[in-house]
């Protein structure tokens, strides 16, 4: 626990309990999404699915990175992860990104993927709004994650025919924004 860091956040007027709870919920969303994306990715097969598999894998790895990056901040702020993994799953800030009934339906898988990313974009926007100008470190982290979630949303929405995303898939390292929190 980082005593003075906590004091500064409280003094700036942030509701610390709410913030920590939200960080834990979003950490759960990231780790559970990593798990569900594993299942989605292995089902992205065939002529249509294979083209999306690589980008789903990148989003999967980056979501796990987000989990890793959130954990230190949760503990710095005096929070903790639940001891019970089942409880952790159920407090997720986003609904489970389960495999659609017909796993051969690539469009349905894409809809699950884009839905999960959109939920994350809403969640990190909320954390940025709560911390902007008040809790600089959490803001910096949430903004870095938000940058990556918006790119994920763009990738998948492009595949769904919602128009050009303006992005290219990652070249080189994953997590260009969150990477600094992982070193």
């Amino acid at each position: 626990m980082a005593k003075v860091a906590i004091e500064m956040v409280k003094k700036a007027g942030v509701n610390l309990d709410q913030l920590v709870e939200l960080l834990v919920k979003n950490a759960s969303a990231e780790l559970t999404t990593y798990y569900y994306y594993t299942i989605l990715r292995v089902n992205l097969i065939g002529l249509e699915g294979e083209g999306i598999k690589e980008i789903a894998e990148t989003a999967r790895i980056e979501d796990r990175n987000h989990f890793e990056a959130l954990v230190p901040r949760i503990y710095e702020l005096g929070g903790e992860l639940p001891g019970d993994m089942k409880a952790f799953h159920d407090i997720s800030a986003c609904p489970p990104a389960g495999l659609p009934k017909n796993p051969a339906d690539v469009k349905a898988i894409l809809e699950v993927l884009v839905g999960a990313e959109r939920c994350a974009v809403r969640g990190y926007t909320q954390i940025c709004n709560m911390t902007a100008g008040k809790d600089h470190r959490t803001y910096d982290l949430a903004l870095a994650i938000l940058n990556e979630e918006i790119e994920h949303e763009s990738w998948f929405s492009e595949f769904l025919g919602e128009g050009p995303s303006g992005h290219f898939m990652r070249r080189g390292e994953t997590s260009p924004f969150v990477g600094k929190f992982l070193r």
Partner: protein
């Protein structure tokens, strides 16, 4: 359609086996089955059993479209 006073709505807070209802623009919705409303709490910030019109219109990072799939169970009486 059933009508709710604020006191009646407050009892539907999703705790101790009670259903989780929220009011938005005069309509009462049942959010008990929504994953993100488990136990009558939402995103560490909101609780069921209340009129959340202002919270949804002003603070939420989404609109009322997420209430659409939730059953409408009544009207909130004014006052």
């Amino acid at each position: 359609m059933r009508t709710f006073t604020r006191e009646e709505l407050a009892r539907c807070n999703g705790r101790d086996g009670a259903p989780a209802y929220v009011a938005y623009r005069g309509t009462v919705y049942d959010v008990s089955k929504a994953f993100l409303w488990m136990g009558g709490r939402h995103q560490a910030l909101h609780e069921a059993g209340m009129d959340l019109t202002e919270a949804l219109d002003r603070d939420a990072p989404h609109g009322a479209e997420f209430l659409e799939p939730c059953p409408r169970v009544g009207r909130l009486l004014p006052g």
